[in-house]
């Protein structure tokens, strides 16, 4: 995609190797700190705020964001996790997704939920998460925070807080690694496996 040229060094490196690191650990940290400050600014504090991560990698990100918010405002902001496997719109179209526990250790009614995921792509996972949350109560508002927005939306959704806008081609993959799940923090773009083999 031509739009990838907005990151020329990234594009060059990508063409060479098939894998480009676009955020390192420090970038991920800075993005989360900025998002935390944006959340506080927009909500004029953290009153009634809860952070809910979408399994798998949204959950550790939500934990970190809640900790950052707690640190900034000096009062605890609770974190939870939501599993969307049972709410997806592609059930019956592909092998069943692995399930996880939904853990919401608070009453959702009247809260402002900051919903967290690692990558915003088609928007279908977020759509499923909105349905899942609705089954637990009626929050006052739901805001969406993502580490990476890679475009290609298939539903009319947008993120309120974005760590990095990453224009991608549909056949590329965005790989988010986190300390908690993968041992280290990084975001990389990878070309489709077939392409990577062909380029060698």
């Amino acid at each position: 995609m031509l739009r990838a040229a907005s990151n020329p060094t990234g594009l060059e490196a990508f063409l060479m190797s098939g894998r480009t690191v676009v955020m390192d650990a420090a970038d991920v940290h800075r993005a989360l700190v900025r998002i935390a400050h944006e959340v506080v600014e927009r909500n004029k504090g953290t009153d009634g705020l809860v952070v809910v991560g979408i399994h798998t990698r949204g959950v550790p990100l939500a934990g970190r964001l809640a900790a950052k918010l707690t640190e900034i405002e000096g009062r605890p902001v609770p974190a939870g996790a939501v599993d969307v496997a049972m709410y997806r719109d592609d059930i019956g179209m592909r092998p069943p997704h692995a399930t996880h526990d939904t853990h919401l250790p608070f009453d959702l009614a009247g809260t402002v939920v900051v919903l967290v995921d690692d990558v915003l792509y088609t928007g279908r996972t977020v759509r499923a998460a909105l349905d899942a949350l609705t089954d637990f109560g009626r929050p006052r508002a739901i805001q969406l925070a993502v580490l990476v927005d890679r475009g290609h939306r298939e539903l009319p959704l947008r993120a309120d807080y974005v760590g990095k806008n990453l224009p991608t081609a549909a056949d590329q993959a965005v790989r988010v690694q986190l300390q908690e799940t993968d041992g280290s923090d990084a975001v990389a773009i990878e070309s489709a496996p077939r392409k990577a083999v062909a380029s060698r």
Partner: protein
Amino acid sequence: MNTKHLLSAADLTAGEITRVLDTAAHLAKVTDRAIKKVPTLRGRTVCNLFFEDSTRTRISFELAAKRLSADVINFSAKGSSVSKGESLKDTAITLEAMGVDAIVIRHGASGAPWRLAEWVRAVVVNAGDGTHEHPTQALLDLYTMRQRFPSFEGLRVAIVGDVLHSRVARSNVLALTTMGAEVTLVAPPTLLPARVESWGVAVSYDLDAVLPKQDVVMMLRVQLERQRAGFFPSMREYARLYGLDARRLDAMADHAIVMHPGPMNRGVEIAADVADSLERSVIADQVANGISVRMALLYLLLGGPEVRQ
């Protein structure tokens, strides 16, 4: 899941059994919610095709399907065209024509689910066939054991009673040995199947000798008809030799649990105070876990792409 249907506990690998149990643990949480329902199987139809009486299995499958938002049809042989002489095959063709996605079948004839699976495109789940298999009972039993014990590897499980006629015992032996448990069958010689030594499990006629070494003691229902058919001399003698009473409960290890697939004959294979023992008996847990395990199975079998041709 590599299997389209669930006909036998032997259809599942150790990895697949673990996936069913893990998924069931997640789905168990749905039952704790204010809204005990997820939209997962919306628009799918599950038919409970029961040619034999059943309370817990049918209700458990019905609740599981409903909590996943599937539509449920309950068919029981009584009051249906079966009582007018309609064959299993014609019943299957009728259900197929109505477009059901899954058929949960209980039938008095061993092997009936296999025949059914040849005739229909729907997913077939064996909910008990004759004296052959009852794989979902085995899965819920394993789930219940896993709540108490960290691993199946080396877990000592005694299955006690009418092994010969027990589909619960067969499916449990298959699933437990797949998972690496050490199974001992305990029964009078008349109630053990021929060639039981080929099952790869230990066999004993002496309950008192076996009990102290077990982590799990699973009591099987003994039917009055069996005594009439001469498999053992009297119910009293059976209870004295193979019944689990308070004295035998004391002989068990402190951590050991008591299971029973139900329905129980209190005072025959299990004494009432043993069945109701809060510390030892997990019989009520088995029933509750049945719903979660069946939800997991329906999700894993019906939640993938249709393999219809």
